[in-house]
């Protein structure tokens, strides 16, 4: 029998629209849509197939890593080393393939190298109790240096027997959509489900909300933290492999400064740097907005020197928006 209490307990307090408009990702999405509309009116170039293809591909790399970053930020941490994990992964796969190894084995090595960076970060942060900012700042420097040592700081643009496969995977398209976009879609859907429906996801948010409570509840906080940093590094490694194929050549300045764009995308998408909040879809939309802004400046003929100003404004507006909304409660 359904009692009044059951109805009260099971009812959502707000209508779906009220819930929706409380989500930062909703407003960021609206902003991105408005920007796209304005651009298609102002320039013919924006809606051209070629340009949309480029936008879709370019933002996918940042968005993939932003999903990993969201996991880290939601658990109350930060990972500055992702840009360097990108270059290390790209360099490992290109050196391995240039030496004659096949694509899949080399990709496995590249992901393995990135995962080791994540393992290193995670162990120092979770078991040695060191601040995430400092540890990942250290590996930011160390991993890029490793990539330089590995390649002797040379550009690599010949990838052995599977050369074409790598270029096809990173730079090709199927059904008119670039491959990195497929990777992003799968990752975004899977991680949205994982964040919401698995213990791993639930505990990750619990750690970000109140680490002490998570420890007292018997959650293996340390092991979980290691896995979170490894996940973040894995997304960076994945992006590194795709970028190597897209660019067709790998240099040691690949992914330089990328960590800041990635963090910006996650934060614009609703990840709270204080921990406990964030979602995969938000990270994707945040990355999309950044790419649309970048693209629009180029198409409108505005100097790219202004790019940082626009992205910076968006980060601050997004966080300010969140702040005001919480004040009203």
């Amino acid at each position: 029998m359904t009692t009044l209490d059951d109805i009260i307990n099971n009812s959502r307090h707000d209508s779906w629209f009220a819930r929706l408009k409380n989500l930062q990702v909703f407003w960021v999405f609206i902003a991105a849509v408005l920007a796209c509309l304005a651009l298609s009116l102002m320039t013919d170039a924006f809606t051209s197939d070629r340009n949309l293809f480029n936008v879709a591909r370019n933002f996918a790399f940042v968005a993939v890593i932003a999903i990993g970053m969201t996991a880290v930020i939601a658990s109350g941490g930060i990972d500055l080393s992702v840009g360097s994990s990108v270059v290390l992964s790209a360099m490992v796969i290109s050196v391995a393939m240039a030496s004659g190894m096949g694509f899949w084995l080399s990709a496995g090595l590249a992901l393995g190298a990135a995962l080791l960076i994540g393992l290193f970060n995670g162990i120092l942060i979770a078991y040695a109790g060191m601040p995430a900012f400092v540890v990942t700042l250290g590996s930011l420097s160390a991993a890029r240096s490793l990539a330089m040592v590995l390649s002797d700081n040379k550009m690599i643009w010949e990838f052995g027997p599977d050369h074409d496969l790598l270029l096809w995977i990173g730079g090709g398209s199927t059904l008119g959509l670039p491959h990195p976009l497929y990777v992003l879609c799968v990752l975004a859907v899977v991680m949205s489900l994982v964040f919401r429906w698995t213990r791993w996801g639930q505990h990750l948010f619990a750690i970000g909300g109140n680490e002490n409570a998570a420890v007292l509840a018997g959650i293996p906080v340390r092991r979980l933290k290691v896995s979170i940093y490894m996940f973040s590094a894995m997304t960076a490694g994945l992006a590194g492999i795709l970028m190597a194929g897209w660019l067709g050549s790998v240099t040691t300045n690949l992914g330089q400064g990328m960590e800041l764009t990635v963090i910006a995308a996650a934060v614009i998408g609703g990840a709270n740097l204080a921990g406990g909040e964030g979602n995969a879809l938000g990270a994707v939309v945040g990355a999309l907005l950044i790419e649309v802004i970048r693209n629009s400046l180029i198409l409108l003929g505005i100097s790219t020197f202004w790019q940082g100003m626009f992205i910076g404004t968006f980060i601050i507006v997004a966080v300010a928006f969140d702040r005001f909304r919480n004040m009203r409660r």
Binding site: N9, H13, G209, N210, A214, L216, G218, G276
Partner: protein
């Protein structure tokens, strides 16, 4: 038969004698108010029951069976639950998620196991109803009053069907109306036959909800009697040492 019996419990940390020869028992469905000044040994006693410390000498028994706790998890297995002073809740999660934190029920879908939110919500709604608290399972803890947070913390302990619930200063730092709510929660626990050990500095709370009162001073038990046979004045005297023992 007594629910919990301490016999001759002493605890020393090096040269510091935190507890000396404390013998105390508590019945099922009894609320015991444990009082004492800072450093009197309340926290040490609480930590011994919760399994954080082992007593230097003495014996603990639950339902007539002697127990030794090496870790907090051992105490939990024997039915001792602790409601922490800072409540240990994750603000960003819902009430139901907090009740089940670390013990989420899972469902299977082929090889995939996912969290059974439906079950979490119905079980927590039921627990809140038993506690007569107006807490909704889906509500975020961040938006809750102090009393509702207590209800979540207590519902969390109820999930493991405890025999003994220890509460450390549950009424500190919440409003007067919410204090009444928390005291009601304690009565609900008592009605279910759970023994409650209430550690508090607030005399009115102890006198309104406890059946018996125990006072520690400098690691010694100086009083254990029914609340009706004592008075706030006497307890104050016992705590400060103006009255030697009663």
């Amino acid at each position: 038969m007594s629910r919990l019996v301490f016999s001759g419990i002493s605890k020393n940390f090096g040269a510091i004698q935190a507890l000396s020869d404390v013998s105390l028992s508590i019945e099922p469905g009894e609320v015991l108010g444990l009082m004492g000044d800072n450093g009197a040994g309340k926290s040490t006693l609480a930590k011994i029951i919760a399994g954080n410390f082992r007593p230097s000498t003495g014996e603990i028994s639950i339902d007539g069976i002697s127990v030794v706790f090496h870790k907090p998890i051992d105490a939990q297995r024997e039915g001792v639950a602790m409601v922490y002073q800072d409540l240990a809740l994750a603000d960003n999660l819902s009430a139901a998620s907090n009740v089940f934190l670390g013990r989420e029920p899972l469902r299977r879908f082929g090889p995939i196991r996912y969290i059974d939110y439906k079950r979490m919500n119905t079980v927590s709604a039921d627990l809140f109803k038993q506690l007569k608290s107006e807490t909704r399972p889906r509500q975020l803890v961040r938006r809750m009053s102090g009393g509702q947070r207590q209800a979540v913390a207590i519902a969390r302990t109820l999930l493991s069907e405890p025999k003994i619930v220890m509460m450390d200063e549950p009424t500190a730092a919440i409003s007067v109306r919410q204090v009444a709510e928390v005291l009601d929660l304690i009565r609900r626990l008592r009605d279910r036959g759970i023994s409650v050990i209430l550690i508090s500095h607030r005399m009115p709370d102890i006198f309104s909800v406890s059946d018996n009162i125990a006072v520690l001073r400098r690691g010694r038990l100086v009083c254990r009697k029914p609340v009706g046979a004592s008075s706030p004045e006497e307890v104050t005297g016992l705590i400060t040492g103006a009255i030697d023992a009663a």
